[in-house]
Assembly symmetry: C3
Homo-oligomer: 143 residues x 3
């Protein structure tokens, strides 16, 4: 059984946006040569998340806007008063909270060398504090 | 190490409901003969989710109702204005957003041929745009 | 390929809090001797969750407080009227709902005998109905 770990990079262009990474991940799966196994995609950031949804730009906007409304910028966050690591004020507690709500990994079965996605399922990196260059760990275990 | 992929089907009967799939998944685990390994349950739809909670019908109602209130039907969604793939109006952006909040997969350890669930843990398919027939990919890797 | 399952225990001290378990999990990973593989952490309770975020006590408070506000205690929950299993009133529907929103497992790649965490990523048990002693199943599959 093979155990492969690849890094994938994604550039975001807005502060909050869904970026379709389905093709990028599909290419890593195909390159791996693994036919049957498990895929785990893991974002290495605390202000991004991963999710699965339908490839409709309007829906991508709706999801981003929902997260912005559900966890508003202009609330009173303790994180904003003092940021221990850097000795400066942090200003993005809402980005962190949104990330925890959506989750940091997706685990997807592989069969016949492909992800077993439903017809409408696409994979998204959710940028919550962009624009930035983001890194994903893409792990494939199988045969 | 074995790598097994089974399909499970679930019929929903309401637009939004939690459906207990614990026994259905347990039977697939037992049939697999895998004693020690990992189970990944993956829904293949963009308007369903998977979650773990307690087997109380009242709580199932509470979770469904919370999702309906948290992401209301009668908001102004961009997805509703034009739906690229079908050339028609979509009407269920809220179902998609609820699905992203809850997540599309559950990953559970297996030991002694059983899921290592806590005493109150049950597995649920969360229907968010029913009633429909839904399909799950149930993957088991182990020995 | 090894398949190891360890149990980890965490004591919570408040009704709702984030408890940093990064070092505790790291020690289990190191003890396993697995260099390359997959880690799945699974909470065995229906009123706890697992999440990844930054190690800042103020942010831990913000996330806990957000969950308390998003799913308020003083709503009208069906679960509170009758609790089938124990023949008594349940009072913690909000704890269960918060748990479903955050999720019960984290799946993280391992490389070089370490979790491939980003520089700011820490692992948290989210206590949602404490204080209690909580148990986690920590599974490692790899070589």
């Amino acid at each position: 059984m093979k155990c492969i770990l690849e890094k994938a990079f994604v550039n975001s262009h807005r502060s909050t946006e869904l970026i379709n990474i389905t093709n990028q991940i599909r290419q890593i799966v195909q390159k791996s040569g693994v036919k049957s196994g498990i895929l785990n995609i893991f974002t290495q950031h605390v202000t991004t998340a991963l999710t699965i949804n339908e490839d409709d730009p309007k829906l991508e906007e709706d999801i981003a806007r929902f997260m912005m409304n559900a966890v508003p910028e202009d609330d009173s966050y303790a994180h904003h008063h003092f940021f221990r690591k850097d000795g400066r004020m942090a200003v993005n507690a809402y980005s962190h909270i949104r990330a925890s709500l959506l989750g940091a990994n997706l685990t997807i079965p592989l069969q016949g060398g492909e992800m077993v996605l439903g017809g409408r399922q696409n994979l998204y990196l959710v940028e919550l504090d962009g624009p930035q260059l983001r890194g994903l760990a893409v792990q494939i275990i199988g045969e």
